[in-house]
Amino acid sequence: MAVTLKDVEHVALLAQLSFSEEEKARLTAQLNQILEYMEQLNSLDTADVEPLSHVIELSNVFRTDVNRPSLPREAILRNAPVRTEKFFKVPKVIGDR
């Protein structure tokens, strides 16, 4: 299944990235190369292999329900490009989820 220019535009939109036409063409080619490489896996017979969701054979790692200190608000907001005293600040967005 080849990646089309349209797929690239769709994925770019989902990732909130904007590209020039040249970049889109280059990315389409690169993504196809990656997928072709991955195609090699299809030569393996996986009929008797269980689908895998995790590579580490661990399960049931839990923490008990106790509180630990949070970071000071100043530390939390330090990386924000725009902020108020207590909030992160972003361009107006309503409902566009």
Binding site: H10, L58, S59, F62, N67, F87, K89, D96, R97
Partner: protein, 492 residues
């Protein structure tokens, strides 16, 4: 609300319940509500590079409780998935949720309809996930973001499209709230957002097999809003189809001020969540032992309790409904009843109706007048049972008991001390009452003549006068007996 009868609404609900844990789902930050913005945040809930989420065990315990309460299958293995989307209140860029392998699936909830019948609503799945932060649009020209809620544990309960009216949706949601509060896993407060509800709505010609195109209605943040929003959307769809139009699959936001559901401005791409298993979180394995352990901690569920109140205690269905609506009220009633029966040496079935009357008409009245919860009510079950025993033993009359109750509500004093200090003990001594009645009859000769002339209605007047003279303390039964005897004697 009546709809065009040619059409049948088909509704399914997705309910989010915030779990009553101390810490978040994947880190130790507090889940406390109403904290200053961005105070309960750490690198894990912000999704900083290099951090690893670790699942809160209590979250799993709570979701298993819910699953068992609605007869779900508990998956031996379930995994977490990332639901990817960009929104400012989701700093990680994805929400940790469950997708292909949720922890609970295939259950059902019974709801009692207004006509007294019961119907079953299928539960497709219940899964664990984390909450997102909060965007505030009206404090600034820009949007302000508070990420305190990021990572707060939720369960999402997805019903089958089995609901056939806004009223049924309302009853279903009430049942969910009752269940989660009984189970002690969520406080059930819709206004504060601890319980949230989205609806999938479609209409079809009554009797048709195929479902119509559905829309999703969001932002219904109260029980009343759910009913209203569904009524609005069902009517909108019916009118649209009647006018030859077609329902478009879209998401609508309920606007409670305007009473309308408005389409969300969203691009089709936004629904491409690209779920994949979260590599940071390992699978959750639940064996039979674990399930049985949780089963043992389940309290008696509301429907079972309600049925027991009717069959074992002999209460009317109405009383049982009122008393079991809230687990704390049911607990108050049961503790009071137990103390009355143990201390009074009586049978539970014999005392149940009296205790029920007092809890429903007196306790719940004061609770609602003062807008408090039953936990904050100043009269404990122990004190109420003392009062009821004074009443049953004849120490005070019913009328005085209500006065003493009011006094207990305002001072918190014990009924004995109120009765003693105010001299409210009931007068049952026939000799004392005879004197009172002799005075009543002597003071009201005209009325006595009327009575002797055949106007028996005056009898009530004499009783009233006798009660007045004793400040309401006379035992009404003794007053009646003595009065009847005296009047008979006068006739003779």
């Amino acid at each position: 609300m009546k709809f065009n009868e040619r059409y049948e609404p088909v509704i399914g609900l997705e309910v989010h319940a915030q779990l009553l844990t101390r810490s978040k789902a994947f880190c130790g930050c507090s889940t406390e509500f109403g904290i200053d913005p961005n105070e309960n945040v750490c690198p894990v809930c912000l999704g900083m590079p290099g951090t690893l989420p670790v699942l809160n065990l209590q979250v799993v315990e709570f979701v298993i409780r819910m699953g068992l309460a609605v007869n779900c299958r508990i998956a031996p293995k379930s995994v977490f998935a990332r639901k990817n989307y960009f929104y400012p209140d989701l700093p990680k860029g994805y929400q940790i949720s469950q997708y292909e392998e949720p922890i609970c699936s295939g259950g059902e909830i019974e709801i009692d309809l207004d006509d007294g019948t019961r119907t079953t609503v299928g539960i497709i799945r219940i899964h664990m996930e984390e909450d997102a932060g909060k965007s505030i649009h009206d404090l600034d020209v820009d949007t302000l973001v508070d990420v305190n809620r990021c990572g707060v544990p939720l369960i999402e309960i997805v019903s089958a499209p089995d609901l056939r009216s806004p009223r049924e949706a309302y009853l279903y949601l009430s049942k969910i709230r009752q269940l989660v509060t009984y189970l002690g896993i969520c406080d059930g407060n819709m206004e504060e957002g601890s319980l949230r509800c989205d609806a999938n709505v479609s209409v079809r010609l009554t009797g048709a097999d195929r479902m119509g195109t559905k829309t999703e209605v969001k932002n219904m943040n109260s029980f009343r809003n759910v009913e209203r929003a569904l009524e609005f959307e069902i009517n909108r769809q019916i009118r649209l189809i009647e006018d030859g139009g077609k329902v478009v699959q879209e998401t609508l936001l309920w606007d409670a001020n305007q009473n309308v559901a408005v389409p969300m401005r969203s691009k089709e791409e936004a629904h491409d969540y690209r779920y994949f298993p979260d590599p940071d979180l390992v699978p959750v394995l639940v064996d039979e032992d674990w399930i049985n352990r949780v089963k043992k901690t389940l309290p008696e569920l509301p429907t079972a309790k309600r049925d027991r109140f009717v069959t074992v205690l002999g209460l009317p269905r109405y009383d049982a409904d009122v008393l079991t609506a809230d687990r704390a009220v049911a607990g108050y009633f049961e503790t009071t009843l137990e103390m009355v029966t143990v201390r009074g040496g009586s049978d539970a079935r014999e005392s149940a109706k009296q205790v029920s009357n007092w809890v429903m008409t007196e306790v719940l009245r004061v609770v609602s007048e003062r807008k408090i919860s039953i936990a904050e009510f100043p009269v404990s079950p122990g004190r109420l049972s003392e009062l009821l025993l004074l009443l049953r033993g004849g120490t005070i009359s019913g009328k005085i008991a209500k006065e003493v109750f009011e006094e207990m509500c305002s001072t918190g004093d014990s009924p004995e001390s109120i009765v003693r200090s105010k001299g409210l003990t009931q007068v049952s001594d026939a000799g004392e009452i005879e004197e009172v009645i002799a005075r009543v009859l002597a003071d009201n000769e005209a009325q006595v003549k009327k009575y002797l002339g055949g106007n028996v209605k005056v009898f009530g007047f004499f009783v009233g006068e006798a009660m007045k003279l004793t400040g309401g303390r006379a035992n009404p039964k003794v007053v009646n007996d003595v009065l009847r005897k005296k009047l008979e004697a006068l006739k003779g």
